[in-house]
């Protein structure tokens, strides 16, 4: 979908795999039409700003997940890394180490957990599912240990400005998420690393036969995922105004769901960055719209689940 094909565009529209690639975009458009008819508030500038702000953290997390899934793996630890990063930030801040150092430590912690994930998966030859399930538990445990189970309030002007400030009509969060997405897109399609990542995920043996160090590629993908989860931890702390050791399971499920909605093959080697970003927007819009329509909060996970499974069904047409 990123490469220009020679076939005329109308021919592509009849190709079911085209629709599978663009599941998220099509669904997002339908959802926006539906919600804007049902609720006059949905398409107002204020609501769109709130929606994008709410989506930013998920977008950052989703991009890391996308890189891992493109290698044919999965990172179940992203939400726990986010929590751990947030707690590390809180602890460092409450010890008076300064907000810059605290944020940096949160990101470094996420990166380190990602590195460990990658090393154990690539060098230890253990299934990604098991390794990241383990680090899911270990990272949330570490967050509890570090914080002694107690949240830390953070009223820092820098974090406050990060969460509420905006450039024109666009919030800093949104700008940050957009920058991450643009860089991730360029790295994936315009760098050697990106091509090698797709090759590793698509056919590890072939990539290795061509001399690509597939272990290094996989480890790097988990490092990126961990680093972005750490950044997402900083964003969440800024948004909530506190570092809480509480688990954020919905972030994990939504990040995987957004990747699936975004047309990325769970077998690896095929996908985009834009797709999962749109997937994350779709999931956030779904929750936002249902809230506007005063649908009980309890229905939201149900709706997300149905949308994801429907998307996965559509993906079967992907070639």
């Amino acid at each position: 979908m990123t490469q220009a094909t020679t076939s005329p565009s109308w021919e592509r529209l009849r190709d079911p795999s085209f629709w599978a690639d663009w599941t998220a975009a099509v669904a997002l458009v339908l959802l926006i039409i539906g919600f804007s008819i049902a609720s006059p508030v949905f398409l107002t500038l204020g609501n769109i700003q709130a929606l994008l702000l709410a989506a930013a953290i998920l977008v950052v997390l989703t991009i890391g997940q996308t890189y891992v899934i493109l290698t044919g793996g999965i990172d179940l630890s992203v939400a726990s890394i986010l929590t751990l990063g947030s707690v590390v930030l809180g602890q460092a801040y409450s010890r008076g180490w300064g907000i810059g150092v605290a944020c940096l430590l949160a990101i470094v912690t996420g990166t380190l957990v990602g590195l460990i994930n990658g090393l154990v998966i690539a060098k230890g030859k253990i299934t990604d599912f098991i390794v990241t399930l383990g680090s899911l538990s270990a990272a949330s445990g570490a967050a509890l240990v570090l914080s002694n189970g107690r949240p830390v309030q953070i009223a820092d002007p820098f974090l406050l400005r990060l969460a509420t400030g905006r450039l024109g009509p666009i919030g800093y969060f949104v700008i940050l998420a957009a920058i991450v997405a643009i860089i991730a897109h360029f790295v994936l399609f315009h760098s050697r690393f990106g091509t090698h990542l797709l090759a590793t995920g698509g056919d590890t043996e072939a990539a290795r036969a061509m001399g690509i160090n597939t272990d290094r590629i996989k480890i790097t993908a988990y490092i990126i995922s961990g680093c972005l989860a750490g950044i997402a931890g900083v964003l969440l702390t800024a948004r909530v105004g506190a570092a809480e050791p509480a688990s954020n399971t919905s972030f994990l499920l939504n990040s995987v769901a957004a990747v699936v909605l975004g047309g990325v093959s769970l077998f690896g080697g095929r996908g985009t960055v834009i797709g999962p970003v749109v997937g994350a927007l779709l999931l956030t819009a779904l929750v936002n719209g249902l809230t506007l329509l005063a649908v009980s909060q309890f229905y939201q996970p149900l709706a997300v689940g149905i949308v994801v499974v429907l998307a996965a069904l559509l993906m079967r047409y992907q070639q």
């Binding site: 490469q3 020679t6 050697r192 797709l198 698509g202 056919d203 061509m210 001399g211 690509i212 080697g269």
Partner: protein
């Protein structure tokens, strides 16, 4: 050291062969090697030609590869000439794959020496071999289905533009060069932007061969290039192999298809149970003889 020792030995060999040619019965050719441990005598008898210094590109001198106690190949001495197709035939488990892995840098030989262009070479990885101009077309082709043709042709050899410390893929240049690589070998493929997944088996083989031939390589090793192809596609791929030969490359062909080996090759080496059974110039042998050499039935037949 280099070539001197083996070639010297081969010259003796030639003299003895010529002496034997006077006789109508091939069994009367005396074995050129006195060392009985080196090769079984029936095998030695059938080594036909000597490496010709001017044309030989690859010379494998008494290469052995052992995995612990398993002797995968023992004392293999073969060579391949520029501008020729050299076939290696043998039954499953004869050691063909191990031999080509010793040449392509996957394995280091336990004993013996590989010479390329008269110089001893030691490869520690396939990249080493590739840098020296040895390319392998694997049976699996090593193509990534979800990447485009040009991405596969340039996989791990991407062309980049530098922007200070950053580098970006030069997609335009890679597309252009890909089209050149394919057209040089007269490979017809609808679009270099097509994903490999959409190609037929023959087209994939053509892409893999073009990639192997397109990097200034001097030796292309092909492992069963037409095993999975239909009749018409096989013919296309065979044309492609002949074109590589005409371009002056040395081609090392592993094939089970005797018909193909007889049609394409200039030189044939026969392996059995990890040893070299013999070698023939293709015009001097027949499919029937090859079968008997491969199965070891030759002696009985000769009687």
């Amino acid at each position: 050291m280099s070539f001197n020792e083996p070639i010297h030995r081969s010259e003796n060999h030639r003299a003895e062969n010529e002496a034997g040619n006077g006789s109508s019965h091939p069994d009367s050719i005396p074995p050129p090697f006195t060392d009985d441990d080196f090769l079984p005598s029936e095998a030695v008898r059938s080594i036909p030609a000597q490496p010709d210094r001017a044309n030989v590109l690859l010379y494998i001198d008494q290469v052995s590869k052992w995995f612990g106690n398993v002797h995968a190949i023992t004392d293999i001495t073969i060579w391949a000439n520029r501008g020729e197709i050299t076939a290696i035939v043998g039954d499953n488990g004869a050691g063909k794959s191990t031999l080509i892995k010793c040449i392509s840098g996957v394995h280091g030989p336990t004993a013996g020496q590989v010479f390329l262009d008269g110089k001893p070479v030691h490869f520690t990885s396939p990249e080493d071999a590739r840098r020296a101009g040895i390319e392998t077309v694997y049976q699996t082709l090593a193509l990534c289905n979800d990447l485009t043709i040009w991405q596969n042709l340039f996989l791990n050899r991407e062309m980049v533009n530098h922007w200070g410390p950053l580098s970006f893929l030069d997609q335009r240049a890679m597309r252009r060069r890909s089209a050149e690589m394919l057209s040089r070998l007269e490979v017809n493929i609808p679009s270099i932007n097509a994903r490999v997944r959409r190609l037929s088996g023959g087209q994939r083989q053509a892409v893999a061969i073009s990639r192997a031939a397109g990097w200034g390589s001097r030796l292309v090793i092909m492992d069963e290039p037409t095993a999975a192809l239909g009749v018409r596609e096989t013919a296309r791929v065979e044309e492609l192999i002949l074109r590589l030969r005409d371009d002056g490359l040395a081609v090392l062909l592993i094939s089970h298809n005797f018909d193909q080996v007889m049609r394409l090759s200039n030189q044939i080496w026969v392996m059995r149970s990890g040893r070299l059974v013999g070698g023939r110039r293709t015009q001097d042998t027949s499919g029937k003889e090859l079968v008997s050499m491969i199965t070891g039935a030759q002696q009985e037949e000769a009687l």
